[in-house]
Amino acid sequence: MNTDSEIERAIRENHPALITYLTAGDPSLEETKAYVEALDRGGADLIELGLPFSEPIAEGPTIQAAINRALEAGTTPERFFELVDDLEVEAPLLVMTYYNMILQYGSGAEPRSAERDATEPQNGPDPEPFVERAAETGLAGIIVPDLPAEEAAPLRAACDERGLDLVFIVAPTTNGERLDRIMSQASGFAYVQARLGTTGARADVSSATHDSLARLEEYDVPKAVGFGVSEGEHAREIVEAGADGVIVGSALIDIVAESETPVADLEAKACELKGGAERGANAPEPEQP
């Protein structure tokens, strides 16, 4: 466990923490900059930024659409890192992306084309260059939805070397043995997946959340709950159930996609969510499942 972790500190110090997700480049990198700064002002304690990948198998329709918009706007890893460099926010930043994006960055892998000499040596896929560049831009951590603990060793090693956190997801289906395996590699916080399925705003807090939090109690790492959190009231319930933070994504992207005044609305939403979380922390009696 990386005890110097900037992320862990941010959660503990701002307990209960609000963690927000936006897809970088949706609808443009300039706008993402303004949105992220608004969330920061509104009370976000940690900010996840999605680097869009063409096959977002873990996302529901809302984030899929955001990713498509970001790709159509020409969001590349390099521009993503430039955005991160540019951002002026207090909250630590994490990148959320799929493993292939991490592997290919700087690998020199090029599809065959008329210009490429087929015999020219290529580096194999390697997470190193990505992590190096992420550290350079000041990113504090990485979340990879399609990288289970079993396949994480190379990325874990690269993150350790550069002092980045690697956040793992704990699912409702994760059993005891797997939990140990995951927690032995996790850093920053445990991303507690509130329910089976994909990302997306939903109207209630599932019983799976309570179960997961209970199972995680013995591990000394902050627990943040995501997947389906959309309102201050959810945030309250989740924190009341024992979480150290709530993660909100799709509900924010709905604002990006639909609002006429997204900057103001994002700031307000962050404020509402943070308020809800805080109400949960101050509740007289933490509910037991």
Binding site: I57, Q64, E110, P111, P145, D146, I169, A171, N175, L196
Partner: protein
């Protein structure tokens, strides 16, 4: 535990939520498939015989043999129930799901071949079944949609992206991530996370096992080459597996050369599906393998006149066998495949799937390198491709094509 990788390929790159299901599947695979627990393998073989029509013949192609002045044998997977090798795998997996106590089957499909095979298997074994299919594919593959519906499967059109196979796979993964406790996802080729590539290969390897025994009986020896088309690579690994240890047998995986081998990075489109020949290593749909991707790691849209080969990835075991030199990757372009389609139809009275036509196209192009005794896997029949072939033939001036001007004006 079974090996989860083939050299540096394979693995399990999936959301955590699915990992317990993969462990459960791996366990079931080992017990039922590898160890024949509860007689699983016996039941599978019996059903493939009575329901599926196995064994399929290995047929000497008299006129091709004459044309190429060598002995050409066709492995007739087009005669499997449903019209392609796909049932070998679909029935195996649906039966396994039943043994595992799963209550529901989901699957993705592109052109519809795997979807129809899965729907058939699910109907046969009385399992509720839902098939995800891209909107574009739903609209252009109506007969296969009808077939799935007739077999009682739900067909869920996927509106995302270009509405083809890649999107359908993504969406099926999402369903699975939600329903994994009661549902088995029947992946349609030797792709996806471990144990799928190994398990699908094992269900398909009956192709090569039969062919190996048949060619020894009919020609008195092992072949010089085995040729099979490769999309995901399930008919390919199915045909090759029994021969991998026979070092004197050359193995050719024939990919879709499409209209060109160049990728258009700006558009994110590869006008081919020649993953093994031109792809680079990366992670897609749960496995490390060769991919058609941009330098940044975005998966590009592949293309082939044959829908079943039209996929930007390929099975990790094939990537490994190509990397080690055991399998030779080659490719055949749209036009050569169309000509091969017409050639087999006219010369042998067998209308092959456009996928299989790629394998036959390679024999036309390279027969001098294939030795005197060649086994070609005819992975499926071409009834499903008639409209496409007519359309594509009209656009070109194909040597081997008949005209079909008999309709009313």
């Amino acid at each position: 535990m079974s090996e989860s990788t083939f050299g540096s390929y394979g693995g399990q790159y999936v959301p955590e939520a699915l990992m317990p299901a993969l462990e459960e599947l791996e366990d079931a695979y080992e017990r039922y498939v590898l160890e024949n627990e509860d007689g699983f393998v016996d039941e599978f073989r019996e059903r493939m015989r009575d329901f599926g029509g196995r064994p399929t013949p290995l047929q000497r192609a008299d006129r091709l043999s004459e044309r190429y002045d060598s002995e050409i044998y066709l492995k007739r997977e087009d005669l499997v129930h449903g019209g392609a090798h796909k049932l070998n795998n679909a029935l195996g997996q649906v039966l396994l799901a039943k043994y595992m106590g799963k209550e529901r089957i989901i699957a993705e499909t592109g052109a519809g071949q795997h979807g129809t095979a899965t729907a058939m298997a699910a109907a046969h074994l009385d399992m509720p079944c839902e098939i995800y299919m891209g909107r574009t594919d739903v609209n252009r593959q109506r007969p296969n949609v009808y077939r799935m519906r007739m077999n009682g499967a739900e067909v869920n059109p996927v509106e995302a992206g270009r509405g083809t196979l890649k999107e359908a796979i993504n969406e099926t993964m999402r369903d699975w991530a939600t329903t994994v406790e009661t549902t088995h996802y029947v992946i349609g080729s030797v792709v996806g996370p471990h144990p799928f590539p190994t398990m699908v290969r094992d269900f398909q390897s009956v192709i090569g096992e039969e062919a190996r025994e048949q060619i020894r009986g009919q020609a008195g020896r092992l072949p010089d080459s085995v040729v099979a088309c490769a999309g995901g690579g399930s008919n390919t690994m199915g045909a090759f597996h029994a021969f991998v240890d026979d070092e004197d047998v050359s193995l050719y995986a024939v990919e879709a050369g499409g209209s060109s081998l160049e990728i258009d990075e700006r558009e994110g489109v590869a006008p081919n599906s020649a993953t093994l020949s031109t792809g680079t290593d990366g992670v897609l749909h749960g496995a490390m393998t060769k991919l058609l991707q941009s330098g940044d790691g975005q998966i590009v849209e592949s293309h082939s006149v044959s829908a079943g080969l039209d996929y930007a990835g390929v099975g990790p075991e094939l990537s490994h066998l190509v990397e080690t030199g055991r399998v030779t990757p080659v490719n055949v372009d749209d036009e050569a495949a169309l000509n091969a389609f017409h050639r087999l139809s006219r010369l042998e009275g067998i209308i092959p799937a456009l996928e299989s036509a790629h394998a036959l196209g390679h024999v036309e192009e390279a027969h001098e390198d294939l030795g005197d005794l060649v086994v070609v896997n005819v992975s499926g029949r071409g009834d499903k491709d008639l409209e496409t072939v007519l359309e594509e033939t009209e656009k070109r001036d194909l040597g081997a094509a008949p005209d079909v001007e008999v309709f009313d004006s």
